[in-house]
Symmetry: D2
Subunit: 348 residues, 4 copies
Amino acid sequence: MKVLTRLLLAAGLGLSIAAPAAAQDAGTKRWKQGTGWGWVWGPEDQVGALNEMTDASRAAALRLATQGRAYDLGLPYDRNSYRWPGHSPGEIISFRTPEGVARQRDLPFTTPEGGNTGHTRWHSSVLFMSDNVATQIDGLAHITHGADNHWYNGFKEEQWGGNFGVRAMDVTTIPPIVARGVMIDVAGQKGVEALPKGYEITVADLEAALRAQNVDVTPGTVALIRTGTARYWGANGSDHARIADPDTSGIGMAAARWLVEQKGALMIGSDTSGLEYVPPKPEDSQAVGGSFNPVHVYLLVNQGVHIGEFHNLERLAADRVYEFAYVATTNAIRGTVAGTALRPMALR
Amino acid sequence: MKVLTRLLLAAGLGLSIAAPAAAQDAGTKRWKQGTGWGWVWGPEDQVGALNEMTDASRAAALRLATQGRAYDLGLPYDRNSYRWPGHSPGEIISFRTPEGVARQRDLPFTTPEGGNTGHTRWHSSVLFMSDNVATQIDGLAHITHGADNHWYNGFKEEQWGGNFGVRAMDVTTIPPIVARGVMIDVAGQKGVEALPKGYEITVADLEAALRAQNVDVTPGTVALIRTGTARYWGANGSDHARIADPDTSGIGMAAARWLVEQKGALMIGSDTSGLEYVPPKPEDSQAVGGSFNPVHVYLLVNQGVHIGEFHNLERLAADRVYEFAYVATTNAIRGTVAGTALRPMALR
Amino acid sequence: MKVLTRLLLAAGLGLSIAAPAAAQDAGTKRWKQGTGWGWVWGPEDQVGALNEMTDASRAAALRLATQGRAYDLGLPYDRNSYRWPGHSPGEIISFRTPEGVARQRDLPFTTPEGGNTGHTRWHSSVLFMSDNVATQIDGLAHITHGADNHWYNGFKEEQWGGNFGVRAMDVTTIPPIVARGVMIDVAGQKGVEALPKGYEITVADLEAALRAQNVDVTPGTVALIRTGTARYWGANGSDHARIADPDTSGIGMAAARWLVEQKGALMIGSDTSGLEYVPPKPEDSQAVGGSFNPVHVYLLVNQGVHIGEFHNLERLAADRVYEFAYVATTNAIRGTVAGTALRPMALR
Amino acid sequence: MKVLTRLLLAAGLGLSIAAPAAAQDAGTKRWKQGTGWGWVWGPEDQVGALNEMTDASRAAALRLATQGRAYDLGLPYDRNSYRWPGHSPGEIISFRTPEGVARQRDLPFTTPEGGNTGHTRWHSSVLFMSDNVATQIDGLAHITHGADNHWYNGFKEEQWGGNFGVRAMDVTTIPPIVARGVMIDVAGQKGVEALPKGYEITVADLEAALRAQNVDVTPGTVALIRTGTARYWGANGSDHARIADPDTSGIGMAAARWLVEQKGALMIGSDTSGLEYVPPKPEDSQAVGGSFNPVHVYLLVNQGVHIGEFHNLERLAADRVYEFAYVATTNAIRGTVAGTALRPMALR
């Protein structure tokens, strides 16, 4: 059966088309305090910690949304938006335009002679963009580690790589996320606009903020950590100079491990491009054998915990909303490794 | 004040970064039985009927999700997916790969000498794709009409067009959608796999299905109409031959008007690429002065009602789920005219 | 007949497929000292001054290439290359790779079972790039002028614009260029590495250099003017800081008019991104009614003289080669307005 | 010295910027009747048989162009052009347009207030396209062979692959080509419009055509073989149905070996997408251990002989021009493996 699934995946056949959330009923509570999640869902698994969601957990999360308020956590993207320098630039280009359709006359039904006497025309755009810009959820195939280029659950590049994106564990394997969300306002607790360049958020920082907010991270919670960076995003993230410094603040290995292993965080996000502080201190880098992104390796590769990036937490902070239903789906684009330019919601 | 807003938009400054749903508290109940919605929200409005959502309406919708089941309504997209022929082809391309990062050595921190002794590397993709593929929500700037190329609320191309997509009413103006959803299973009521080529769904068809399902479309409901087309999508919509025929079935002007003017539908969607049957009969075409897409003109341009396309309704049909909370956000990509490759949810 | 031609062009049918150089025998010597070229080739003309080329002129040019030396005037382009800020960024992306072909298995003939036991595979790339980068020849549709957005010979946007590039006067209308070339080494004559920021090359500068080189620009000559900027291009034009300043030096209206109206230059090029010095002085800007690029307007729109940009003249200067056969063809890409990333040749 | 060169290449530094044709004076006559070319130019070589060009050979070739006639051998490309199915689709998209520049106001110097009272604006396009479309010259990195994915001269993927195209032997290493050209009109000799589907051109076919034309292929000649396919290209190669069949005709291993090993062809081209007949007969496939493209492997990988594709030979045939100077340069785009959408010339 497992072999069959793998073969189907190898053939690009994917899962059945009409499946509800893959992990609909799969919640088998495999999290263990002290070790967290990990490669515990079987050798075929491509979902990771999100397997923990159940109908019951989703229903409980949605019960937090009593007021019907919907917070849009997305940051708008355009050609000028700040991005991590390893990603490609992007262009959103007018592809068909009313005037162009009229002049081009390439489709007969668009002409008056073809019956279009009312001059119906349209706009469409072409996107040339990275799957890693603006508000993202990193999939488990995003990061590889080791000389064998393995990713979560031991999937290896030599078997699962490809030319049209990854051939396993792409974003279409990320189930719709409906879970209890907690926003941890570290910048707010410290009374600063935004955290300074390269600042490592400690376990004590998280504990202090949670205490001040009077909420806790419980197993199965999506934890969103506020550095304040998103306040500089503006309409499109074009003020790179102001974004750059706070964008390098974030959690380190200690806080990541505490959130996963002690608290059972289902997913961890923040308002920066990479969640973790950079560059990492030597002990953090060495914790995974030498890495520029040890928290990514720890969460995505070793624990199977998805990462949320560039989530807009400003209005939640302004309204002092710390607990909510976190609801997010990625794009359904095969091969891609992160949901990109998303708009997750906090429902309250 | 309105002038200022328009100037800000013209300058690309957009709305404040941390705004929750634009229409959070705007519900002013402007729908009127007999005429529907329309250009009733003031000359600056870019939101249309979705202005009707309120905290109360969202809270009521969410109360439908008692079981915590999450249905993913997205259809996965890749380079082979069926699309309307007027749109561009697409490619999802591996941009950075573990082996490529290792060989290219263009970023010092990725090299062993640069500290990356654990061989952390990554996948990222570049998307070249249309903003009108797979599961979509058409924004109000998608369709223009008349020799003056106006779109909803009288916005005109000569003022609001641009090279980087539209400069007003792009998808970032679509608020997060949380509303009561009703699925109308026309194919199911007729006992067919999928509706035949070019079939016009009538008001009687809708009424019969709703009666059989024992639900109704009430003002503020997102109505999703099932033709059965999505059952042929498979893993990626590559079976163009089977999709093409049922994809041309859908509602006509009569059903569209009934849904909006008599029932108060907040948004209308289906499981096809274009919602409406094509090609339109002469009376439907002439209803808007001669058009290949009269229902689009009626809904998007004249009524300000967003359109949902290629929504996967198969599992809802299988489970006989007809009423639910419809929850969807588009990508946050400035200039684009449709949310694309989305995964809306039906929460039950 | 002319009407037919225009209709054919409007229908995108273009010229006959096997035509040799469009201007093969058209040389009708319409240049006049004192006024230059202009809109003198009939209302259908899309070729401009290059119509002047004849078999005789090409044969004469080729007789300059007695030694058989071929100078490559192209500057290599990649994702890091300097470009004018109004143009899009670019990416050259590995599309198919040997490892990717092997893993993807999307084409049966590439598999061992499909007969490919010798493991033949391939590389191909996808280009996402501007038609205005690196070594270019600007087509006559590149620049428009006036509130009516007309280009050379009175072609107007409202008639000839389109969504897939311009619908007339694209680069496929540029005939193969084989003409006498003269390199005017202004930087060399002045004894500088490169001209300073914003420097306007005067008629006196050109005369002094030509005198020192003992050559002249005669009617029908391609004139290439050296500022020295290309010496900073290196492998890929990535040293933007060094390129930026000399790149703004170039000819102004006086030198452009002298070259065209007094000397009969067939085409004018240089080693910078825009040929002309920028920003223009008020008198130059006002010479065409107020423009940021008056020399472009004068040459492309008013005179029908093509412009060569970012031509690498360094080796010609090192070898003191001032007269040669200039041989260049653009890409054959319909809709594009400039030959891009070209490698023209100087044959000596 | 060789090590240094390789290191420079590895660092992406490429060759000196002002170099004339790399092989300017390198002609060392390493071709041997009976074995052809091969890996004979030293372990660093990326140029192959084109090393054979010298000043003397170029001068001799140019002396064939006595009449000054220039034949454009390029076939125009657009979004609808026929292409080999393994390559990506393409779009040429209007990026900046006069109306868009005016409306967008994103660059101050384009506004009337910024001085642009004359309304100078521009067109530019964005290309999204394969490096393997329309008229091409395949570089030596295009095809790999063997389980080690090696290409010409033993360069291997694991060392020279990359994310931004190949890191060695890209098209920028192809020197400007100026050589004696011979067109072998096989379709003409047979008296057919075009060769039939899958037809293998034999040595006897070539000999018969050459005899009828009274010319020969001599060492250092670019041989262009006419199947007649280009007569169906029309304006843009959109008639896929008519192109598809003759496009599969071409030379096999026997003719390829005869041209290289007996005749000393410097480069071999034709008017089809792939030069060789397909699918190959078993003996041809097995000649290189099992391959879908054995002639490509033989020429590009084993012999270092570049391949010309989709060359328009129709007008040469009409004018019975069989001997000429072949002059071609590829684009100068780093990483790409084929000159694409080119316009080589036959000068007579």
